[in-house]
């Protein structure tokens, strides 16, 4: 018997009792929708984390002073230990380090003409652009010369540039930061959240030397707030953290039994935690999906058993005119699978609706990928075969003479 024929028979059987078919499909629809949404949520969170990582750059750690720990141990000697430019340079020389950028940050009022805004200003070095994946939409970035001679130049985040200049070209214009003039030399292209400064679009970057002179008062002439460090490789990240700790303890002359006076914050770990949460959420949704698929599958099995009983006479007639047991088995199995696959398709449509509703809020991007659709169809087929097999086998084992006697 041809597949087309079996499929049209399945369709006919489904349409014979549309309400019952619809109610039967509900469990599978919900199950498939949750499985697809599970994948979409998981993918969404992973994409979100990846996007964050690409904004802040990967394999980054921050080295900063740990004042909590420094207090008891160090204040006695009268020196407040901070991280210095020399620390940053020493870290930069470590073989496992790709680059280390010292940072001085502050909140300042930025103005151009009559427009002004309050935002974060970061004093930093050109290295910062490289290790944090910063790209320029316009103009040029900070240079070593700018840092060496403390020039009054600034690179604007995308949103800051829009706020102050609308559609006009900011390059070469003079803005005021805390009432001191700076020339705009570049505009950043990056968007999204950054680990140390909130929205990267709302940041203004200036040479660290200029920041020290004009904007930020520091404890010593060489101290910095923190250093952003990137390792050469992902695998080498943990070794690099160990190297930095050894180096810093050595430079800060910390005795073996004393605690660190600095902290190394590993952002890769945060990303890992985020991914672990995403995985946990996926597992929870997957569990809900699996439970509804099983419940739905049992519903299918139940209806198929009812259907086999109701159609006993039909089975007898078919067998009398030449249907082999395998033909009967296929007929009922394909019917169960067809119910599941149609449910699967409706489930995917339902989850696509939910996903686009969630995405339209703008808070979280949910995408139903081809992978999800394929998995949904495969899952629904598996459920159909698994729960449809027993009723179908039962139908195929019926004796023709008994079926024909059945009223």
């Amino acid at each position: 018997m041809k597949l087309v024929h079996v499929l049209s028979e399945a369709l006919r059987a489904m349409l014979a009792n549309p309400l019952r078919t619809m109610l039967t499909m509900l469990g599978i629809i919900i199950g498939i929708a949750s499985v697809v949404l599970m994948l979409a949520v998981g993918d969404g969170i992973k994409a979100f984390i990846d996007k964050q990582l690409s904004v802040l750059g990967s394999n980054l750690v921050i080295v900063q002073a740990d004042s909590r720990k420094a207090v008891g141990a160090r204040l006695r000697t009268g020196t407040v230990q901070t991280i210095t430019l020399d620390d940053a340079e020493a870290i930069n020389r470590l073989p496992s380090v790709k680059g280390a950028a010292p940072m001085l940050t502050t909140y300042s009022q930025i103005s151009y003409g009559n427009d002004n805004t309050n935002t974060q200003v970061q004093g930093t070095t050109p290295t910062s652009f490289v290790i944090r994946n910063l790209r320029l939409a316009k103009g040029i970035g900070l240079s070593e010369v700018d840092v060496a001679s403390a020039t009054r130049v600034a690179v604007l985040g995308k949103k800051v540039a829009e706020q102050l200049f609308y559609k006009n070209d900011p390059i070469g214009q003079t803005i005021r930061i805390d009432n001191q003039s700076f020339q705009v030399i570049g505009v950043l292209d990056n968007e999204g959240q950054s680990f140390d400064s909130g929205d990267i679009g709302e940041v203004v970057m200036v040479p660290i030397s200029t920041a020290r002179v004009t904007l930020v008062r520091t404890a010593t002439p060489r101290s910095v707030q923190y250093v952003v460090v990137q390792s050469k490789t992902t695998e080498g990240l943990n070794d690099m953290v160990a190297d930095i700790k050894d180096l810093m303890r050595d430079r800060h002359r910390i005795r073996a039994d004393d605690v660190d006076d600095f902290r190394v914050v590993n952002f890769g770990e945060f990303a890992k935690t985020g991914e672990a949460i995403a995985t946990g959420l996926s597992i929870a949704l997957g569990f809900i999906g699996a439970v509804s698929l099983v419940v739905g599958g049992i519903g299918i099995m139940n209806i198929m058993l009812v259907s086999v009983t109701e159609r006993t006479r039909e089975i007898g007639i078919r067998m009398a005119i030449g249907a082999r047991p395998s033909d009967v088995l296929w007929q009922f199995l394909i019917e169960a699978v067809a119910i599941c696959v149609v449910s699967g398709i409706i489930g995917v449509a339902l989850s696509a609706g939910v996903a686009s509703a969630v995405s339209s809020t703008g808070k979280f991007e949910m995408m139903i990928g081809l992978k999800a659709v394929v998995i949904a169809v495969v899952f629904s087929c598996v459920v159909g075969v698994f729960f449809g097999f027993y009723p179908a086998r039962r139908a195929s084992k019926l004796q023709p003479v008994e079926c024909l006697r059945y009223e």
């Binding site: 018997m1 041809k2 006919r12 014979a16 009398a320 005119i321 395998s326 023709p400």
Partner: protein, 259 residues
Amino acid sequence: MNVSIASSRAEGALVEITDVRKSYFSNRVETPVLHGINLHMQRGDFMAVMGQSGSGKSTLMNILGCLDTPTSGTYRLAGVDVEKQSRAELATLRNRTIGFVFQSFNLLKRMTILDNVALPLIYAGVSRKASRDRAQTQLDKVGLGELANRQPNQLSGGQQQRVAIARALVADPPLILADEPTGNLDTRTSNDIMALLNELNRERGQSIILVTHEPDIAAHAKRLVRLKDGLVLYDGPATEGLRQLKTDDSIATIAEAAL
């Protein structure tokens, strides 16, 4: 395929049953129904089976139709030893060798007349298109070509039985088995159906075995088999058999009157 089976076996008997016994078992209690039936039938024969209710006619027909198996005895159908066949092989054997006509028509609901008639061909592996074409031709032959797209419940009983006959014939099987095909029809419609079967037997040499309670219907057949309590009481020409039947009945009436 049908044609090759039919022609290659043409020399042998179509139906050979030897000492067939059948008992039903319910709650381990044996109810013997057929007590040793012997029947041979050549191609082209038209046999009527008569007997009182409960004499085992339907039981015999089910065995002949390979729908049920005898408790003992042998059955060769078109040269094939039926007992040795698997369930799947039996299905194929039924599909190619037998056309069924039932008392209650047994058309499939929610399916057009055309699809009903085409179904045996679908199970034989014929393509959808070809099956439908042949089904349409067969429907035309029984005079219902116009109604091809109706559903069975939109037809009269007589029309439904014609459709059933078209379905029985569509795969061109050597044997038609009809268990009380006119049992649910009035006399006029019954005569139409019998005329159709008669024509098939005369013009195409179609072999037919038909169960009936009515001597008028049995009179269309060439040969009569009378069953009584699971044994063959008479097996011979229909005319002679029906005359004996009449005599037996009048004796029974007289005996009854005498009591």
